[in-house]
């Protein structure tokens, strides 16, 4: 049985189709979930895709957090459901307090889309277990509000507990503190990442195939998880 990975569509989600494609290319089954429906349809994991949910008009992710689907996801995540938030999904996870800190406007104030080197710092999460620690990967970054901020104590704690999942290498594209590109929660089942692994899954359309590892990790994680 293949892993069933839910991809949530909010009004204003943009990379939902790409996330579903990445799940399929990694060998999973993509299940489309709707923001207004609390039913998670028995999925084994969830991806919150990139985009501008609700126009990002109030504050990125601030409204999406209250969607009926999110209420189910927050509860399930606390019970161990693997949840990957990409870009806007990362912002939603922070707003939902599944992850600490916040994403603010890029320091240079521009939207920026470039191919970005990342160093994988933690391979103990449901989404990075296919990588080796310290491995460098090339993944597109594209955001206007991707500057990760948290108070010093939180940052220190993230570092001390190995919860910084990936860092920017060779230039920080948005001013994130401590070059943080991705973090995880204490249990390692919830990961938020600013760059877009779903855009690096095909040689023809991406800068590399490195993004696939985030999605194959889900399958590996589920295969090893107790039934």
């Amino acid at each position: 049985m293949t892993a069933r990975v839910g991809v949530v569509t909010f009004p204003g989600s943009l990379d939902d189709g790409d996330a579903a494609r990445a799940v399929r290319l990694a060998g999973g089954e993509a299940v489309r979930l709707w923001h207004n429906d609390p039913d998670l349809r028995g999925v084994d994991a969830v991806v919150l895709p990139g985009g501008f949910s609700y126009g990002d008009y109030l504050r990125c992710g601030a409204i999406a957090r209250f969607a009926p689907a999110m209420e189910s996801i927050v509860a399930a995540a606390r019970d161990g459901l693997p949840v990957l938030g990409i870009c806007n999904g990362f912002q939603i996870l922070c707003e939902a307090h599944l992850l600490p800190g916040a994403l603010t406007r890029n320091q240079h104030l521009h939207f920026r889309n470039r191919d970005q080197l990342l160093r994988i710092e933690s391979v103990d999460t449901a989404f990075t277990n296919s990588f080796t620690s310290g491995q460098e990967v090339l993944i597109p970054v594209k955001n206007g509000e991707g500057c990760y901020v948290a108070d010093e104590r939180t940052l220190d704690e993230l570092e001390a507990t190995g919860r910084v999942v990936a860092r920017y290498v060779g230039g920080n594209p948005n001013g994130s503190q401590r070059d943080i590109a991705a973090i995880t929660n204490e249990a390692g089942n919830v990961v938020g990442i600013m760059p877009h692994p779903e855009h690096a899954v095909e040689a023809l359309t991406g800068p590399s195939l490195d993004g696939l590892g985030f999605f194959t990790s889900i399958l590996k994680h589920l295969a090893g998880a107790p039934a």
Partner: protein, 864 residues
């Protein structure tokens, strides 16, 4: 093209030229030159409400402020004839909008007819000129629709919103044809790069194009960024969108079927955008002029995204009979065009239109250019399903009217609009949509043209030593028009939707439209105002040739054309002559190439005082790529052998420097005649590259245009950090001839990279088509340099530094970015596919076509 509403709406009102559009016309001049009329001239407020048909009939002598609305005496008389009475206030507003230059194409119509008359037969064209956008069939089941449109004046007044709503407007045109929009492009022209106002306009325009397109989830796959002092007061923002639809989902705008419901879907209607066509520029409509919002519309891409998703759901469920987007002329245009297209009438209850400001009066509701709205024609039994779909996406949808039958005598129906029980409009819709005035305006060749053409750049002093040549090359690649445009393009999302196969700085954008078969389309957008200034007929043909070539070098087959014609005032006979010549050139060129014009846009009045912009026809060519895995990128790939792959120059190089980037950058010179254009040669070039690409004989190809061979080589080297050794042919070896070989802008040329074991096969294809192919050198991954034998060697790092520093220096380096300079080379040096580790290898092998995608990565200029 001749009937469509047009974003250019706001452009007819030249903000820098307060005169109304027709102010200079002989018989309108006197009236328009008058100051705004005193209150006594205004239509008195009707005690019980608005100016109604009943009242208009009863007060035939009422003075109306038609000259202030841009209508001439004879045009006003014609309205009275059509109606058999004076128009009401609302009707006058509607006629002044629909008969304005941008909606009626009254100055351009007589010329634009050539696009249809000279068009080659095409069995691919499912919809053409006159529709919201042209539709081209690309396979048994799929079609694409594409169009480019201007939003020039709004972008000068308010760069962010002007550019943003330009993107929003063209995307709705594509949506209205039944297509899912899949990409955007932007051709941008600004004043001098170092002018202080450019520093105001450019960042706002770029952020606006990006802000809207990024938020819609549409990849930006290419375009142009051009600087020239002629655009200082009149920047050009031309936006293109392309969409894909199943052939049987094609929509039309006809309001067919009496009894069908007219539904307005999308944003509420507000006072924004009013005045775009100078309708309310007069103080006579009401006294509350201080309440009027600026004439630039304000965009809400989130609402547009919801509008796209809900419209597509309606199409797929077969719930709409007709659909039309609301563009420059708002409800006025949508109502009259949908009714006129079907020959039906329509009854509209205007008070049902959801308003942002409840105090809006009928003429304001009709004239509002509020964004993100669509008009649907729906069968009554499907209305509930339509409303439910809109509600699912959180979009407002409101029934505001009903289609009424055509007259019993076969006459078209009438458009009747009531507001709170008063009949404020009762008109034949065709009189607004189709029967506007048409003028054959006077034309005269510009008086200075003969002298200008005699002042040839070929007579300018040219670099003649290796040192001079080296210095010239470094100066040229750093010049604003040739330098790296990453500062602009990295503000655009090029990855979203996951089908971008090539994007800027490639010669053309390539989008996969069928994941199963690999079917894709290629698009390029090109123009050269300097060439068109020197010779508008051939300038238009050169723009067409360049766009065609840019599409062809990706391996695509060019099939259709769209265009955006940016000119000064049509009331200036010299501008009108330029326009006529450019249209004639483009129409002739398309006929020669055998590809039809499917639609486009005219933007006049790009003029500040007496100074018009260079005539700037921007041409978009669409091509079909049978299998995107076979697309050809511009960057030199890692050589297949240690001795490097072979670099061929296809086509012929002549001494052609007039109008060139070199003449402008080094001598600030513009004169002479532009390069010769040979469209038969362009066709041959396209065929050779397509055949060679299909057979796998070429691993890279890059067209030659602005900046000549030198620029092309630099871009191909820097794209993936692979150098080259070039030898100038013997006949170009002495004196200043190496310079000519490197910087001449002769058309019909491209370079290709051919692996050594494919040399013979490739040579055969060239010979078969009698295309001159000159072996000019080899690629070189070891030297890290571009070497021109006996002339100079420049390291790629030095080239990259020169190439990439210009825009960050002018428009501000990105802060907190150590990668901005030093890192750029590191980035470009990263073999883009190499970082895919074994552990993250995909379950299936990737297409073995040479590695990573060409979309991202190392910077290169978009001079394509």
């Amino acid at each position: 093209m001749t009937t469509q509403p047009d974003i250019a709406s706001s452009e007819a009102t030249d903000v820098t030229n307060p005169a109304a559009p027709d102010a200079g016309a002989p018989d309108g001049a006197a009236a328009a030159a008058e100051p705004a009329p005193a209150d006594g001239l205004a239509v008195d407020a009707y005690p019980a409400g608005p100016d109604t048909v009943e009242r208009a009939t009863a007060t035939p002598a009422e003075l109306q402020p038609y000259p202030e609305l841009g209508l001439r005496d004879d045009e006003y008389e014609r309205i009275r004839q059509v109606l058999g009475r004076r128009p009401t206030q609302s009707e006058l507003a509607m006629y002044s909008i629909m008969w304005s230059e941008h909606c009626s194409y009254k100055s351009s119509k007589v010329h634009l007819r050539q696009f249809g008359e000279k068009a080659p037969p095409s069995d691919r064209m499912l919809a053409g000129i006159g529709e919201n956008a042209g539709v081209i069939q690309v396979s048994d089941t799929l079609a694409v629709t594409f169009k480019v449109e201007s939003h020039n004046h709004p972008s000068f007044v308010e760069p962010y919103q002007g550019a943003a709503t330009g993107v929003g407007g063209i995307v709705r045109d594509i949506l209205a044809m039944g297509a899912r929009p899949v990409a955007v492009m932007d051709a941008l022209r600004f004043g001098a790069a170092d002018h202080s106002d450019t520093a105001r306009v450019l960042p706002g325009v770029v952020a606006g194009v990006g802000g809207y397109g990024n938020c819609l989830g549409l990849p930006n796959i290419g375009g142009e960024v051009v600087f020239d002092p002629c655009y200082q007061g009149n920047p050009l923002v031309n936006a293109l969108s392309i969409g894909v639809l199943p052939v049987d989902r094609l929509q039309n705008k006809a309001a067919a079927g009496a009894g069908n419901v007219v539904v307005l879907m999308g944003a509420k209607t507000g006072r924004d955008g009013i005045g775009g066509v100078s309708v309310l520029a007069s103080a006579t409509f009401d006294d509350g002029s201080e309440q009027r919002r600026p004439s630039v519309q304000v965009g809400d891409p989130f609402t547009e995204k919801l509008l796209i998703e809900s419209s597509l759901e309606l199409y797929d469920a077969g719930l709409v009979v007709g659909i039309q987007d609301l563009g420059g002329a708002g409800l006025t245009c949508a109502l009259t065009e949908t009714a006129a297209a079907a020959g039906t009438g329509m009854q509209v209850w205007l008070e049902r239109v959801p308003l942002r400001e409840p105090s809006m009066e009928p003429h304001e509701i009709l004239a509002s250019e509020s964004q993100e709205r669509m008009l649907l024609i729906v069968e009554p039994e499907k209305l509930d399903a339509v409303l439910a779909t809109a509600e699912k996406w959180g979009v407002l949808a409101t029934p505001i009217g009903e289609v009424t039958p055509a007259g019993a005598d076969g006459e078209p129906g009438r458009l009747v609009i009531t507001w709170r029980g008063h009949t404020v409009v009762d008109v034949p819709p065709g009189s607004l949509a189709d029967d506007g005035p048409v003028y054959a305006r006077p034309m005269r060749e510009p008086a200075d043209l003969i002298l200008l053409q005699a002042d040839r750049a070929e007579t300018l002093p040219r670099p003649a030593t290796p040192e001079e040549l080296r210095e010239t090359l470094l100066r040229m690649v750093a010049s604003p028009n040739l330098c790296d445009k990453t500062w602009v393009t990295e503000q655009y999302d090029r990855y979203v939707l996951g089908n971008t196969v090539l994007a800027q700085p490639e010669d053309a954008g390539v989008i996969r439209i069928d994941e199963e078969s690999g079917l894709g389309v290629a698009l390029s957008l090109d123009g050269n105002g300097r060439y068109a200034r020197l010779d508008p007929y051939n300038g238009a043909r050169l723009a067409l040739a360049e766009s065609y070539r840019n599409v062809a070098v990706t391996g695509a087959q060019p099939v259709a054309v769209t265009n955006c014609l940016n000119f000064g005032s049509p009331e200036d006979p010299a501008v009108m002559w330029q326009f006529a010549e450019a249209v004639r050139g483009l129409a002739d060129g398309c006929a020669e190439l055998g590809i039809p014009v499917t639609g486009g846009n005219v933007s006049f009045y790009n003029q500040t005082g007496a100074a018009a912009i260079h005539p700037t026809p921007v041409v978009g060519v669409l091509g079909i790529v049978d299998d995107v895995a076979r697309r050809v990128p511009i960057g030199f790939p890692t050589p297949t052998t240690q001795d490097g792959d072979l670099i061929f120059l296809l086509g012929e190089t002549r001494l052609e420097l007039s109008g060139s980037e070199w003449a402008w950058v080094t001598h600030e010179h513009l004169g002479g005649v532009p390069p010769r254009v040979d469209l038969v040669r362009e066709q041959v070039l396209a065929r050779v590259i397509a055949d060679a690409a299909r057979a796998g004989h070429v691993s890279a190809a890059h067209d030659l245009s602005d900046g000549g061979l030198a620029q092309t080589l630099v871009e191909s080297c820097l794209r993936r950090g692979v150098g080259a050794q070039i030898t100038v042919p013997e006949e170009f070896a002495t004196g200043s001839m190496p310079f000519v070989y490197l910087f001449s802008e002769s058309a019909g040329r491209a370079i290709v990279v051919v692996p050594r074991d494919r040399e013979d096969a490739f040579g055969e294809i060239c010979a078969q088509h009698e295309l001159p192919a000159t072996l000019i050198g080899v690629t070189d991954a070891i030297s890290g340099a571009l070497e021109v034998r006996d002339q100079f060697t420049i390291g790629l790092d030095e080239l990259r530094t020169a190439f990439t520093a210009t825009l960050p220096r002018l428009f501000g380096p990105a802060v907190n970015d150590p990668a901005e300079d030093a890192g750029a080379s590191a980035r470009a040096g990263v073999p883009v596919a190499a970082s895919a580790s074994a552990q993250t290898a995909p379950p299936e092998a990737p297409p073995s076509d040479g590695g990573a995608a060409e979309t991202p990565g190392a910077p290169a200029a978009d001079n394509g």
